[in-house]
Amino acid sequence: MQNSIKKTNTIKILCLVALAILSIAGFLFYNIQGNFSYAFPKRVYRVAAMIITAIAIAYATVMFQTVTRNRILTPSMIGVDSMYEVVQTVIYFFLGSASVFVVDRYLNFGTSIVAMVLFALLLYRFLFRADKYPIFLLLLAGMIIGTLLGSLVSFLQVMIDPVEYLSLQNKLFASFTNVKSELVGISAVILIACFIYGAFLMRDLDVMNLGRDNAINLGVNYDKLVLRVLILASILIATSTALVGPITFLGLIVSNLAYQFLVTYRHSILILGASLISIIALVGGQFLVLHVFNLNTTISVIINFVGGIYFIYLLLKQSKGVAG
């Protein structure tokens, strides 16, 4: 019985791989016009950015949901990625665009990540530690904090020098049509580093499925693991936000689809599956939007729309006590 589940999981993963490759190939080669040596590298950069984003969000969300023991909240939904905007705005507001924190790309990125990690830790201490708050309360708190951060950002932006503001806006308005290609290289490096580091945490995460007490009983250093996962998830979310801007609901969709699609507690498989689904959703979705439906919109809009509905569905399911 276990073997047959393992076998079907392998088949499912292979199907996902095939679909992902198909999406990527379609996106790269479909209807490529004009100067190939000009158009093709541009597409490669875009698709690379999408793949990095897709994997980063899937990876961060699955890990985050395991340590917080919930399947509805994601780092994006509690405002970890709004923290990126806050940091950038605060830097521009107080230090200006000529400051070393802006000019030095790595310092800028590093500062954002540190702030996001601290923010995630703070939220974790207050929201998740108590373990008893119902999910609705967490959501409400997350929304309020998100709104608060948003207001703070707009407040500071109104007071910023208009020239500085333009430069800030350019930095913040990353999207799929305006990918920060100069960040693709470093993002790929960060993602790979996270993967290597995260590989050591996979088994401990599997044990976390048994709950905090059983995990500690089995020798998992619980507090350390939570800290590591929160840091890792923050770095991943920061990377994807810097690259293509926030996509609030992608993580929620792909993690939950992976939980439903793959019957397993193993994080190596869940994260692989969620990452593939994520790539299919982003790259394949963008391909469909552009070439099949001929819509002049980006996939993130559609994902947030579909994700919002899916989110409500999950909430209703949970409130009926059927949630798995």
Partner: protein
């Protein structure tokens, strides 16, 4: 030997465990008894490092448990909490396999599989080992968790109300298995029990708590009598001898 020394825990301003000192002797079954809310689970959580104490310390063979590495501690002391909630689908065998995690970190060796088979056999779960936990009755689930702790193969086994949800037959079976683990394999068992007759018949020592304080600590024969039990439960409980066992007849006590 586990030495609990002057341990105190506050939840808010209320002390739920207050200055408790107890020594758990090796090679024995020690039962923790006491009314609901006496602090038994809290005490057990502090011994097993699930909860930090506010004052006092717990020594495992003379070493402060806070100084031990998580992985090493997990090979020596196992704890099963009163209630367990899992939000993924696992089969019994998968759950029991987790008991080997301190040794093999998820990569099971042939020796691990042997221990898992053994633990499943102990708990009578071999036939249903590939069933998912959410397909089990409360008692079967409870046995699966106990089986995981047995597979962990530690010197010390701490169990918080393991007889929860179990019928008489399985309760007796589990107490006998614990007795066997102690007598044959030299393990040390600490168990929280509400049915004082199981404590009376199967344990070597009894520790009684009430309102967070230690009220009794001694060999079973010294605790199972009407006077001592009155101190613990505020009930008049007649004690009768039956086949060499002391049985408390508490059903109609005031």
């Amino acid at each position: 030997m586990i030495e609990i020394k002057g341990i105190t825990k506050f939840f808010g301003k209320k002390p739920v465990v207050e200055d408790v000192s107890v020594t758990i002797e090796t090679g024995k079954i020690t039962s923790f008894i006491g009314p609901n809310g006496a602090g038994k689970s809290t005490l057990l959580s502090m011994v097993s490092r699930l909860l930090d104490s506010d004052t006092g310390e717990v020594l495992l063979d003379k070493t402060d448990v806070k100084k031990l590495k998580s992985k090493d501690f997990a090979k020596r002391v196992a704890i099963l909490r009163q209630s367990n909630f899992i939000n993924v689908r696992l089969t019994i065998r998968e759950l029991v396999s987790f008991g080997r995690y301190p040794y093999s970190h998820g990569r099971l060796t042939p020796e691990d599989n042997e221990k898992i088979d053994e633990a499943l056999e102990y708990m009578n779960l071999v036939d249903i080992q590939h069933k998912f936990l959410d397909e089990l009755s409360g008692g079967q689930k409870q046995r699966a968790f106990i089986s995981m702790v047995i597979a962990q193969d530690t010197e010390y086994i701490l169990l918080d109300e393991p007889l929860n949800n179990l019928d008489m037959k399985h309760s007796v079976q589990i107490m006998k298995i614990l007795r066997k683990l102690v007598d044959d394999l030299g393990k040390t068992v600490v168990i929280v029990l509400h049915d004082i007759n199981f404590a009376s018949v199967y344990s070597d020592r009894i520790v009684a708590l009430k309102n967070g304080r230690l009220v009794k600590d001694g060999p079973t024969s010294e605790i199972i009598n009407t006077e001592s039990l009155r101190e613990v439960y505020d009930m008049n409980i007649p004690v009768q001898e039956q086949d060499g066992c002391k049985i408390c007849v508490y059903f109609q006590s005031q």
